[in-house]
């Protein structure tokens, strides 16, 4: 009962931002179509990666979760319900956006030959064209898992920051970039590049690059990653207390 209402609140809270987001996206696409169809003589390059914008969108929406937390708590939702409402609303949002983005990609491909979705750019070795049914359905599934994962990342980060004290926040904010920019390269050099090689191999495997650009590898990896981050976020939110 309460879960349904909480999920509805989350979706309604996101819907306004979603409409603005797609308004901007479609405006960009329209201007691209107009340019390429009106002035066909010159080469304007290809437009792509608009699905990457969707990933950023769902990441940011999940990152600003604290406001919903307070609102839902004011309205008698337990932390478990709040967590589940996030899971459900994020999955629904991911499915809706995946459908819209897949359809848009197909439509754009029909209208203009200069469009390539991010998904197609990564996995094009597997597909002959963006118009095939296989591309459409595999893309759809891939989007859903990728968007959910982006949501899980945002949700985990926001919960982590919410539960951390000031000092810990600073340490993490400084420590994580320092680790990736300074410590990791040093370690990698010390090991003769073995660490970088290992990371690259891991991601090539996880995203299916090393297996004939198979997107199912990445779908499974994203799902596992989402479950792990979601689980960690649940542990964090379980004892969260609203801040004044």
């Amino acid at each position: 009962m309460t879960l349904k209402k909480a999920t509805a609140y989350r979706l309604s809270d996101n819907s306004k931002a979603l409409l603005i987001f797609y308004f901007v996206i479609f405006a960009v696409m329209l201007s691209f179509i107009l340019r390429t169809t009106l002035f066909t003589s010159s080469n304007y390059g290809t437009l792509g990666g608009l699905d990457a914008s969707s990933m950023i969108f769902i990441f940011v929406v999940s990152l600003i979760f604290a406001e919903s937390f307070k609102m839902l708590q004011q309205n008698g939702c337990s932390r478990k319900t709040i967590f589940l409402s996030f899971v459900y609303s994020t999955i629904i949002l991911a499915v809706v956006m995946a459908v819209v983005d897949s359809l848009t990609a197909m439509l754009m491909d029909i209208i203009t030959s200069n469009y390539e979705s991010g998904f197609f750019q990564i996995y094009q070795a597997r597909y002959q064209s963006m118009r095939s049914a296989q591309h459409f359905f595999e893309g759809l599934l891939w989007y859903v898992t990728a968007y959910v994962m982006m949501g899980a990342i945002g949700f985990f980060i926001t919960n982590l920051y919410y539960r951390m004290g000031k000092l810990l926040k600073v340490l993490v904010s400084v420590g994580v970039p320092v680790f990736f920019v300074i410590i990791l390269p040093i370690l990698s050099n010390l090991t003769g590049g073995a660490i970088y090689e290992g990371i690259k191999n891991f991601f090539d495997f996880a995203w299916g690059f090393s297996h004939g650009f198979n997107p199912y590898f990445s779908m499974v990896s994203a799902s596992i990653f989402s479950v792990i981050l979601g689980g960690l976020a649940f542990l964090l939110i379980r004892r969260a207390v609203p801040k004044q």
Binding site: M71, C77, V241, P242
Partner: protein, 286 residues
């Protein structure tokens, strides 16, 4: 098992003990006054009942089931807290719509009539509300949700005298139309003295008094007269304080006025505010 039952509840913030093994019951469709000085533990108690804070030990039961992390118990509670938990960009109208969604008992007509009485704009956003109107908005939702247990933490914060008067009247009106348990936590004791039926005094995390307002007021009185006469009179009484003025003395006494008062002494009742101050001061001195 109707009512909110608090059993052996304790809570500390690091070294600071906020609640010490509290046992308490709210219920019976009564209006309670939860009185205590600043930092006595009032807000902590209400925040634990409304599942915002976790207790260190003990339990809170709402109609027999736990209040902690329990949607079905929390659905019966509405907590008007110190800060506004609604999103900054939300309008009053939207907040009402969601309140109605989460609490089916939400009385939209009551909310709208109160909005009019307090001249609050329906399209105002949360972030544009002054401290006073913040309180008014929160109080309106709290009254209109009409849940069995309404918790009001300092409900008149930042309100001017007119709005305070209006709020108390609206509360009594809505309460009589739809009797329910209301807990008012406040330090403005004189204002609520006649409104509340039962009194809970909390001090340094402990329950100091828990009884009906009438019983409570019977308990304290002052006698005034010459020092010698007073000292003679109070020999067998529980005295909780003195005021001296020259050769004259005022004694604050706990207990009911007895029938045999020497004619040279003047007796007055202690009002709730005075009784409260004397009671909590006495503990502070100990």
């Amino acid at each position: 098992m109707k009512g909110i039952e608090i059993r052996n509840l304790s809570k500390s913030y690091g070294e600071v003990v906020a609640l010490k093994d509290i046992n308490l019951k709210f219920g019976g469709d009564k209006i309670y006054g939860l009185l205590g000085r600043n930092g006595a533990g009032k807000t902590t108690l209400l925040n634990i009942i409304s599942n915002r804070l976790f207790p260190d030990s003990g339990e809170v039961l709402v109609d027999g089931e736990t209040a902690i992390e329990n949607d079905s118990a929390q659905r019966k509670i509405y907590m008007m807290g110190e800060s506004n938990f609604y999103p900054e960009g939300m309008t009053i109208r939207q907040a009402f719509r969601w309140s109605q969604r989460f609490y089916p008992s939400f009385d939209r007509n009551l909310a709208l009539s109160l909005v009019e009485k307090f001249s609050l704009g329906l399209d105002k956003k949360m972030k544009s509300l002054s401290t006073g109107y913040n309180s008014i908005f929160k109080a309106i939702v709290a009254l209109a949700t009409k849940v069995p247990y309404t918790l009001l933490d300092e409900p008149v914060l930042g309100l001017d005298a007119n709005h305070r008067d209006l709020l108390y009247k609206s509360l009594l009106e809505s309460y009589q139309e739809h009797p329910r348990t209301i807990v008012i936590s406040t330090h403005l004791i004189d204002e609520v003295a006649n409104i509340i039926e039962d009194i809970v005094i909390i001090d340094q995390g402990e329950i100091l008094r828990n009884q009906s307002s009438e019983e409570m007021l019977k308990q304290g009185y002052t006698v005034y007269g010459t020092a010698a006469a007073i000292d003679n009179y109070i020999a067998d009484k529980e005295v909780i304080g003195f005021d001296n003025l020259g050769g004259l003395k005022t004694a604050y006494i706990l207990g009911e006025v007895d029938n045999i008062i020497p004619p040279e002494l003047e007796v007055t009742k202690l009002n709730l505010q005075k009784l409260f101050v004397v009671l909590t001061n006495r503990r502070a001195l100990k």
